[in-house]
């Protein structure tokens, strides 16, 4: 197994553990144990838990970014794209909850881990860039209102992130799929030109 493949496996294992147990509770030893590796060998791949956390952030951001890019490249209306993004996010929250959990429970809740080397957009640019392109094209096509980027970004991502969080907490009364339609409609109504 090449070093890169092994590294990716460590990242996926760490992603699960961080998402389940939190960053501080999870130790390098826990990750090594899960990987059936020695702790010493783990340091051949990542020199610290913080550096592993940062690489994971870049990794998860790229996964989201690549998927949103596919939606950006679709030849459909902005209203339709909103629905696709909501669907993508909710599907990930269901199928790969560790990705969403990592973003919300580790990255957004423990900013101090990322204060040196992941400031601002540095580690999440793959994702944020695609969201910017989505908004920009929507305004250009006169389908979305021209407004402050963060006012729109917060409304969109905060809303679907909140729903995914409630889902993961087991609070939602219905299946997450059933929220795709009404949530997409609400977002479109709030952002449309």
């Amino acid at each position: 197994m090449s070093k890169e493949v092994k590294k990716l496996e460590i990242m996926k294992t760490a992603l699960n553990l961080f998402a389940q147990n939190g960053f501080y509770t999870t130790t390098i030893a826990d990750i090594a144990k899960e990987m059936e590796m020695s702790v010493g060998n783990m340091y051949n791949y990542f020199h610290s838990k913080e550096s592993l956390a940062k690489e994971l952030l870049i990794y998860t951001s790229k996964i989201f970014g690549d998927e949103i890019k596919k939606i950006n490249d679709m030849n459909v209306s902005t209203e339709e794209k909103i629905k696709e993004i909501v669907k993508l996010y909710f599907n990930m929250a269901k199928e790969e909850p560790e990705l969403v959990d990592y973003f919300m429970r580790v990255y957004l809740s423990n900013k101090e881990i990322f204060s040196n080397g992941c400031e601002g957009m540095l580690c999440v640019s793959a994702f944020v860039t695609e969201i910017m392109i989505f908004f920009e094209e929507g305004v250009k096509k006169k389908e979305l209102k021209n407004q402050d980027f963060f006012a729109a970004f917060g409304l969109f991502m905060g809303y679907i992130g909140g729903l995914a969080f409630l889902f993961r907490e087991g609070i939602l009364g219905k299946n997450l799929d059933e929220y795709i339609e009404p949530v997409s409609e609400n977002i479109y109504n709030a952002l449309k030109a």
Partner: protein
């Protein structure tokens, strides 16, 4: 001894600003001594008549409704003069693209213009106005019978391969995405808020300075993109944005690449430039 090239300078629909720019060329006397001036609307010259020329300079835009001269309407007159000339310099954005006043000779904004078929003999010098050095460069090259490398729109590459962003003294602020928050400030980049079109405007304004000392962005005024097809746009002092993202981005990069690098530069924060360099209160 060779005879001097014959130069015919005709004013179409315009403001004579290109002529006035040329009058600021420090060596104008020496340059004019190298040519035989058949006609110029403002300089002492022989009587206006349709005739052959080596270099025809057309300043201003086309309009068929313009008052007739020598019983020709403007388009007919230009047509006669173009046919009788060896080389044509289209002087100013009005002449090249239409600019403020009408249709250009070679282009009508984005489309081909009425005289596109004569492209082979035309040299386009857009600008409102073009810099005197640019005008002199082209005339000197033609007088010396030297080859001028032209781009696809027949602009001299030596002048228009660059953007007016190149050489701008505010480039360090552009690199770190630090905006000038107010009009007229010495510090900060004018691209994000103040309407500067420098990064996507073909010109040498910050390489060949105006009056040998300055340029608009250096003086605190945004580049208005005066050498471009769509000049003049509206709201010249405000950057057009879509959801906060500049509608036009620097030439040669994809929007995706630009947004990525811009986001990273902004995230890294340059502490030195984020505060005023020269602050009289601190």
């Amino acid at each position: 001894m060779h005879s001097k090239p014959k130069v015919f300078w005709i004013d179409a629909v315009g403001c004579n600003g290109c002529s006035h720019s040329f009058f600021n060329y420090p060596e104008i006397k020496e340059l004019l001594n190298k040519v035989e001036l058949l006609y110029h609307p403002l300089l002492p010259s022989p009587e206006f008549k349709v005739q052959k020329s080596d270099i025809l300079i057309i300043e201003g835009a086309l309009k068929t409704t313009y008052f007739p001269r020598l019983d020709f309407n403007l388009v007919e007159l230009i047509s006669e003069l173009v046919k009788l000339s060896k080389k044509v310099i289209l002087l100013g954005t009005c002449s090249v693209y239409g600019g403020m006043f009408g249709e250009g000779v070679l282009f009508n904004k984005q489309k081909e213009g009425k005289f596109f078929e004569f492209k082979e003999k035309m040299i386009a010098l857009p600008g409102c106005p073009p810099h005197p050095e640019w005008i002199a460069y082209v005339i000197e090259m033609l007088v010396e019978n030297k080859n001028i490398l032209l781009d696809k729109e027949n602009r001299p590459k030596e002048i228009y391969s660059y953007t007016s962003h190149m050489g701008c003294l505010r480039n360090e602020y552009f690199e770190w995405k630090i905006d000038a928050l107010d009009f007229g400030t010495k510090e900060g980049c004018l691209f994000y808020l103040q309407g500067c079109q420098g990064p996507f405007t073909h010109s040498s304004c910050n390489r060949i300075l105006w009056n040998e000392v300055n340029s608009k962005p250096r003086a605190g005024t945004p580049c208005f993109g005066c050498t471009e097809k769509e000049f003049p746009k509206k709201n010249l002092f405000k950057t057009e944005t879509f959801m906060g993202i500049p509608a036009d981005i620097p030439l040669g990069v994809s929007k995706r690449a630009y947004l990525t690098i811009a986001g990273i530069a902004k995230s890294l924060k340059n502490d030195r430039l984020n505060k005023r360099l020269i602050d009289e209160n601190n």
